[in-house]
Symmetry: C2
Subunit: 464 residues, 2 copies
């Protein structure tokens, strides 16, 4: 059945509305669906809606140009959708359940990778695809064994068991790029097995630095460029040694996509901007928007690489909202909003790095005030500095929203008075997420898309 | 030029992406645009993205059925877009500038209705349409002279000059329904003019109660059912006298649309769920979702009335985000989220009504605790009650987010620990807003839509 025919059947559900609804797309005719050679599935993890216009505004301010996602929204050839993101046990999903819905086809409880609430194991899409000679790639800025890549290639009741997840990738995913070398390293694994050696034996080129990635020549790659997650873009670009060692998301994506376009095998490439989520948990706007710009650069790379082709579908989305960052209207008639927002470009470090620097040297409120002023560009009041110090020391602080009674929540609010950015909490939200799709059969992602319907769509396209 | 041809020309802007983008909509062929007899332009004012899935969840919980907007998202015949909402002076618009962009075709500074930053007056769409014998209707739950309806039919440098706006509606808008009788009442107007009499002389039937609306027989209507804004739905449904006096948004919409469908004149009907915005300013989730359900009922009425027709376009959107309400993941693995959310259905009053009740009787923390417990269903801690009392008395309270250091912000946070709902502030945000369009030429609202492009789209459709 062509997807257009399916649409016409679905339209029947809307009874008396048939005329009104079909008049929107009067030009639709039944044609066979275009063949899909490959799919690039791009995930800005934990991206609430507000992130997109703020990234556009920052790009206009600092780069004098639009973001690629913003441009795609303006293209009549792109398809717009919204992802219904709930998990089996909650209106608010975590990344494990979300990626399992995409990769295993069923909603599972939070915390589990392709294991249902009844304990049944789902076959991850990477296994299904491999049996049909379809290639899988996983590219992320988190540990490669983090929940979102794991949902496409692993099964475990505990998302934190990243050592097990690392083992499961062997031969399932042909390209694995990101952070998390600790989970492959015999010295750090409980079972002492040397996964680097195992992957090398199976034909993977093992990469530990950006230079190695850029020089790699093998079709199969295992690249882990840090022990844990890759650094935030704002820290990466402000630290020469990091910039030298660690590739960008765009560079990793480029390496993976070019390999998959060689030869004729179908492929599924997941590209995750993972730390948009981490920055939202941390109520850290510079971390957030810096990584979203890096994600947008990866979109640009994908679209440039695919220019002139019509056989690769690109789906860009997120797995859930997180803390719903928004630029609040500041001042009378919101007239000081832009001034507040413009300060974000001057921020020199992620909150993660600020906390790490603090923990390395400690001190009193004067030192803390100096650190915040140096890194974030504003001077906290005495009361703010004292409260931040208290919460970092584990002392209770006055805070009415329980979810913000912690160092990220307090620093996020203090910084928000300076930048205009507010947050609903330090956790995921039930928001729908945006979907933009371009390429063959993109219309499958039009309108409301339940997260657990993605699995079937991907398989139908790749295996038909 | 047909809109399909325009799309093909636009696609040329994307250069090398032509193949990829056009392959999404391979079935598109050039056909003349369908004629648009009328447009229903529906605005959920200040609706951030999170409101839609939360309203759906509440509807499923309390009514055991889907919302109409949610169903529309699943229809292949509906068109999805995102509104770029900035104003002339700020990344964050107010409703005056937003409605002026729609109704006057140009971005103006916040606070102004169809007056540009240079002081130039824009012709509101109601004036343009009237010259072409096209009928305009304004239906809202705010005062009818509030910013969003005003942007379609009035010009003033000061949105708060609702007395002037009321005068300007005469003969420009043929149906005017909502709150705000004070602005038409000679006893309350500075100029002592009796606008009710003026409108009656011009053939309007003057309505002051729900019964009068339901019994009305004239084609022209001026209905103002309260002195100020209409009550929140949560208060309306919990107060028999209000329910008797004040019609629902759905009833007002029905009265307007049926009149416009009589005869052959083209029409533009704006329907505003105005107090979604007010509830967001108040960080009041029961006010918010109750009014969004009422807005959804109005959508249902419109779609049912239009069943079988193909000549009326329905556009459903919002003018800006507000406080970005989100359901936060609560408890370990977010496993207590649904339980928190389910408490919203038990809330018996809007925060506005709670504050009004409090101001009418006052008292100490014991009385305040009892009132909150009775109306919102949870018992604040002693510290919460004391802080709420302090902020209501104008005393400074400890609060790190400056935008929340006020009664709505404090009550919203305290309630949020109970319901799981968080807020970024008590003001508008820079978020894009959702657009869903069905009917002839709905594809004009696909993808990214700048708010100031709406004016041209509406005129092109209605006057061609």
């Amino acid at each position: 059945m062509t997807s257009t025919r399916r649409h016409i059947l679905q339209a029947g559900l809307f009874g008396g509305l048939g005329n009104l609804l079909s008049s929107s797309h009067a030009q639709t005719t039944t044609v066979p669906a275009k063949r899909v050679r490959g799919i690039v599935f791009m995930v800005s993890d934990g991206m609430s809606h507000g992130v997109l216009p703020l990234t556009e505004a920052l790009s206009q301010q600092t780069r004098k140009r639009s973001t690629r996602w913003w441009e795609l929204l303006q293209s009549p050839g792109s398809v717009q959708g919204l992802m219904d993101t709930a998990s089996a046990n909650s209106l608010v999903t975590d990344s494990a359940a979300a990626s399992s819905a995409w990769g295993g086809g069923q909603r599972v409880p939070n915390g589990q990778i392709n294991v249902t609430d009844k304990g049944r194991k789902l076959e991850p899409i990477g296994v299904t695809l491999r049996a049909k000679k379809c290639r899988l790639g996983l590219v992320t800025t988190a540990t490669v064994t983090h929940a979102t890549p794991a949902g496409f290639a692993a099964v475990t009741p505990n998302r934190d068991d990243e050592q097990s997840i690392a083992s499961q990738y062997l031969d399932r995913a042909e390209i694995v790029l990101g952070g998390g070398s600790q989970f492959f390293d015999p010295a750090q694994r409980k079972d002492k097995s040397d996964l680097f050696a195992d992957f090398a034996k199976a034909g993977y080129e093992i990469l530990r630095t950006r230079d190695q990635l850029l020089a790699a020549r093998s079709p199969r790659l295992l690249g882990t460029f840090t022990s844990g997650h890759l650094p935030y873009s704002v820290d990466h670009s402000n630290d020469e040694s990091l910039a030298k060692m660690v590739p960008t998301l765009s560079e990793m994506t480029d390496a993976a996509l070019k390999r998959f376009l060689t030869g004729d095998a179908p492929f599924l490439l997941q590209v995750e901007g993972a730390r948009i989520d981490h920055a939202a948990h941390a109520n850290d706007v510079a971390g957030l928007l810096g990584d979203q710009l890096a994600f947008d650069d990866a979109i640009a790379t994908v679209l440039a690489t695919l220019a002139g082709r019509d056989d690769v579908l690109v789906v860009i989305t997120s797995d859930h909202g997180n803390s719903n960052p928004g630029l609040n209207g500041m001042g009378s008639s919101y007239g000081r909003t832009n001034q507040h927002f413009s300060r974000i470009a001057g921020i020199k470090a992620s909150h993660e790095r600020i906390f790490a620097e603090w923990n390395a040297k400690k001190g009193g409120t004067a030192e803390l005030t100096a650190l915040v002023q140096e890194r974030l560009g504003f001077k906290p009041t005495d009361s703010e500095a004292a409260t931040l110090l208290d919460t970092m020391s584990g002392k209770p602080v006055p805070e009415w929203n329980h979810l913000l009674a912690n160092p990220p929540g307090i620093l996020g609010q203090i910084a928000g008075n300076h930048t205009g950015i507010g947050w609903t909490g330090t956790v995921h939200t039930a928001d729908m997420t945006l979907i933009t799709a371009v390429g063959p059969q993109a219309e499958r992602f039009h309108g409301l898309v339940r997260n657990d319907s993605v699995h079937g769509k991907l398989l139908e396209m790749l295996l038909s």
